[in-house]
């Protein structure tokens, strides 16, 4: 049976603010030693009250705008209760009932085509500290405590590991360019909800959650492992699937159960009375929109994801004609990064010699793509491609005809033809002997063998000349 993978993602992203979410301590990246960036507030001492960092709200709203969310004008904080030594207050301040952003959407481009991933919500929360285990004792480090996070929750819209990785790369790229997060190692952490169902089925299968992964590679591997485990369970009844939380072990490449439903904690969420509801009025929202970095263009993101450099992206984004040319050749089948190099390096170089710029470029997408395709197919080498491009740019010639005319196609290339001739000579010793014995007609047989090898594409005169020379 064919199965369909259904995945939903919860992604925690550490925000690039100067201070923590509810106090004025610097972020943990500023810390050298454990408990360097700690004050009475973020270490849970009595008497301190949380004071909202306005910049956190602004970055969360910016992220929501990038992910096409509705920005909720009334947003509140809740407390989530659980005991753990790295959580100094024994509760985490997060958002449950009125998250800051809801109902967004991200469009992904993958090998399977264009896919829309719905964003359920984005909420703000504080991070926990960490435990350091050593010798007889475990130690707590509160540097990371109260570092601001946003959690982005998707609907179960992913259908493959590839889509998940594409999505995460897109978030990373967007958030970096938008100044929302540096997305460094560990600053982006994912919980993956995964289930498998028979293809065509509307019902969801049994769902498992893989917690707290930060490497994209591990996420991809974990999804593939877990999907296979689910499919094996369904297909061969290897085990009974249960709804549970699992963790991924990188060393073994396997996921394993952490805790099951029965023992799952009741977090006793309730509103945080110390933090007044935040009201985002029109004026503030407009201000945030106005400050949203210009580079967070959807198109720039696509270019960046394709591996095009920031400098090249700037050139493309600032010149609509050029970016359209690139989009057109990409639509025809060109590789975006490669296409960008043909335009921004090669075409620009040709024009520069005549004191012109890319604004003066006159070339159709069809002609440019014809050149690129010849190179990509291996018909001509890159240098030959450049020669053709010069003629196209300067004289608007037809690239294929010009290639033939100039003998740039490998089929017209002396060295390529020589190889064919050598092969024909080696494979027809009798004809060679006959020719050397004076039978001129034997040359015709060798010529025929070459033409057959070249599928009739060679230049007959050239082949004959070369063949005669070889046999001398």
């Amino acid at each position: 049976m064919n199965y369909e993978l259904v995945i939903g993602l919860e992604t925690h992203v550490e925000l690039s603010t100067e201070s923590k979410i509810f106090c004025s301590c610097g972020g943990h990246s500023a810390a050298n030693e454990p408990n360097d960036c700690v004050c009475p507030a973020c270490s849970g001492m009595p008497g301190m009250l949380p004071i909202m960092n306005k910049h956190v709200v602004e970055l969360a709203v910016t992220a929501g705008l990038m992910l096409n969310c509705e920005i909720n004008r009334y947003t509140t904080f809740d407390k989530k209760n659980y005991y753990y030594p790295d959580l100094p207050c024994a509760y985490q301040i997060t958002q449950l009932n009125h998250p800051i952003c809801t109902n967004g959407c991200v469009t992904l481009k993958t090998s399977a085509g264009t896919r829309d991933i719905r964003i359920k919500q984005i909420h703000m929360e504080e991070d926990a500290g960490k435990l350091v285990h050593g010798g007889k004792y475990s130690y707590v480090d509160f540097n990371r405590t109260s570092v601001p996070l946003i959690e982005i929750v998707t609907q179960p819209d992913f259908r493959s590991a590839e889509e998940v990785v594409t999505y995460l790369n897109k978030l990373k790229s967007m958030f970096r360019s938008g100044g929302i997060s540096e997305c460094e190692e560990g600053a982006m952490r994912c919980d993956v909800n995964i289930s498998v169902r028979p293809e065509g089925s509307e019902e969801f299968g049994v769902r498992t959650e893989i917690k707290n992964m930060s490497s994209f590679e591990a996420i991809e591997k974990a999804i593939r492992y877990e999907a296979q485990r689910h499919m094996d369970a369904l297909e061969f009844e290897t085990e009974e699937l249960v709804q549970e939380t699992r963790r991924y072990d990188d060393a073994s490449g396997k996921t394993m159960a952490m805790r099951n439903k029965e023992t799952e904690a009741d977090y006793r969420y309730f509103p945080d009375a110390n933090l007044m509801p935040i009201i985002i009025d029109d004026e503030w929202l407009e201000e945030i929109k106005a400050n949203k970095p210009a580079a967070v263009d959807e198109k720039a993101e696509d270019y960046r994801l394709a591996g095009i450099s920031d400098k090249e992206i700037d050139m493309l984004i600032s010149n609509q004609k050029i970016s359209k040319l690139l989009d057109d050749i990409v639509a025809m089948g060109a590789n975006p990064k490669d296409g960008a190099a043909w335009i921004l390096t090669d075409c620009a170089g040709i024009l520069r010699k005549d004191g012109k710029t890319l604004n003066d470029l006159v070339i159709t997408a069809e002609k440019l793509y014809a050149v690129i395709r010849m190179v990509d197919n291996g018909d001509i080498n890159r240098n030959a491609g450049k020669k053709i491009l010069i003629a196209v740019v300067e004289q608007d010639v037809d690239p294929i005809a010009y290639c033939k005319e100039q003998g740039l196609d490998k089929k017209f290339d002396a060295s390529a033809i020589e190889a064919v001739i050598d092969k024909a000579i080696a494979e027809n010793p009798q004809s060679v002997a006959d020719f050397k014995g004076g039978k001129v007609k034997a040359l015709q047989a060798l010529f025929g063998a070459c033409m057959k090898e070249l599928k009739g594409a060679g230049d007959p005169a050239m082949i004959k000349t070369l063949l005669e020379e070889k046999l001398k």
């Binding site: 001492m45 009595p46 005991y83 707590v140």
Partner: protein
């Protein structure tokens, strides 16, 4: 009586042990916080010190302020007739005034019994920065003094916006000046008077007569909301307290059990040893009302009650300027067993809960209680002042 948990200096202000004074041990009356020395002072304390007042010491409180009158303070359990330590320090003339956290009635009951004044101001007027927080949504620092003008003097210093408290209102200062009370209308709440003993009823009548003498109109009315109000506040108070004191876990500071084999035992043993029976009852009650199955029926419902009661009281305050009622059912309490504490406090806080639930001010004077709408402190103080000065 020994008022102080920690004596600091020869000063004129006492501060109860729920409020932080830099470097002075702050135990909140609990074994759990024994030895805890704060790195900073409460905003109210700092403001007083900046105006030249001197903190005399930290007065004993019942563990986390949860009991009737401070009787279950770790290491200073009361015997015989109960008195509130901060209130007594003021009543005896030891200090001019005292700061105390008003959360579940203990501070107001103590003032009523001692016969001094205590103002629990409108929620958000005095910074909660430096309060060992329990019930964040309704607790507020209040002021004990010999009389209304003594309360006003301290309120003029400590009230006003503080950026270190997100619930602090934006007003930089408040006008607590006294005005003529002639022509004002005050309602006596029948249902609460009926719950009080004869001595308390006498005090209510005497206070009402004194007000009449100042030209105030007094009417007895029925306003039968207090059972619901009290239940709602006990739910919010226990839930918030349970949550706020969960940070006292033996990991970072305060009491840690000597015996434990793993982190769960460290938590359980430290907290079992560190909290008294009443605190444990509050934790159990608070955990229960926040649990998934009970949240909607308990906590969420209480938030709705809070909104509805705020509207109802505002409606009432369109007809009257203030209400007059007892602050407690008795004028004296004897020491009792801690296992009875949860029920006793629950029953007594019916008189005090409204001000905590909806954030309105309450003033104790002459052993009785006045409440008014938000920001009516000036009027409440004027009413008390007019009674206190009669004959002058």
């Amino acid at each position: 009586m020994n008022y102080y948990k920690t004596k600091i200096a020869d000063g004129n202000i006492a501060v109860d042990d729920m409020i932080l004074v830099k470097d002075a041990e702050a135990s909140a009356g609990s074994k759990m916080l024994t030895g805890f020395k704060p790195l900073f002072s409460a905003e109210a304390v700092t403001r007083l010190e900046n105006k030249g007042y001197k903190i005399a010491g930290k007065t004993n409180v019942g563990e986390f302020g949860l009991d009737l009158l401070g009787e279950f303070s770790y290491g200073a359990e009361a015997e015989g007739t109960l008195k509130g330590a901060a209130a007594e320090a003021v009543a005896s003339g030891e200090v001019k005034a005292a700061l105390a956290v008003d959360m579940n009635g203990a501070a107001r009951r103590a003032a009523a019994i001692s016969g001094i004044d205590f103002l629990k101001p409108t929620y958000g007027t005095v910074s909660r920065y430096g309060v060992i927080s329990c019930a964040a949504s309704g607790e507020q620092i209040g002021v004990y003094a010999q009389n209304a003008s003594g309360v006003k003097e301290i309120m003029d210093v400590i009230a006003g916006h503080d950026e270190k408290d997100g619930t602090s209102l934006k007003n930089e200062s408040y006008d607590y000046s006294f005005h003529s009370v002639s022509g004002k209308k005050v309602a006596i709440i029948k249902e609460l008077v009926e719950k009080a003993d004869d001595e308390t009823k006498k005090r209510i009548n005497a206070f009402a007569d004194a007000l009449r003498a100042q030209g105030v109109t007094i009417e007895e009315i029925s306003f039968d909301v207090f059972a619901v109000v009290n239940t709602a506040w006990q739910i919010l108070m226990t839930a918030e307290t349970c949550n706020n004191i969960s940070r006292y876990d033996g990991v970072k500071f305060g009491h840690r059990a000597k015996e434990y084999k793993n982190i769960d035992e460290l938590y359980v043993n430290s907290r079992t040893e560190g909290f008294n029976f009443l605190t444990k009852a509050v934790i159990m009650y608070g955990s229960d009302v926040l649990s998934k199955n009970r949240y909607e029926a308990c906590y969420d419902k209480s938030l709705k009650v809070r909104r509805v009661m705020a509207e109802k009281f505002e409606e009432l305050m369109k007809q009257y300027d203030a209400v007059l009622m007892p602050a407690a059912s008795q004028t004296a309490y004897e020491a009792y067993d801690i296992h009875e504490a949860f029920g006793k406090v629950f029953n007594e806080s019916i008189f005090t809960a409204l001000a905590n639930l909806i954030g309105v001010p309450a003033l104790i004077s002459g052993g009785v209680q006045l409440m008014g709408k938000h920001f009516s402190e000036g009027l409440l103080l004027s009413l008390a002042d007019s009674v206190e000065r009669k004959g002058e």
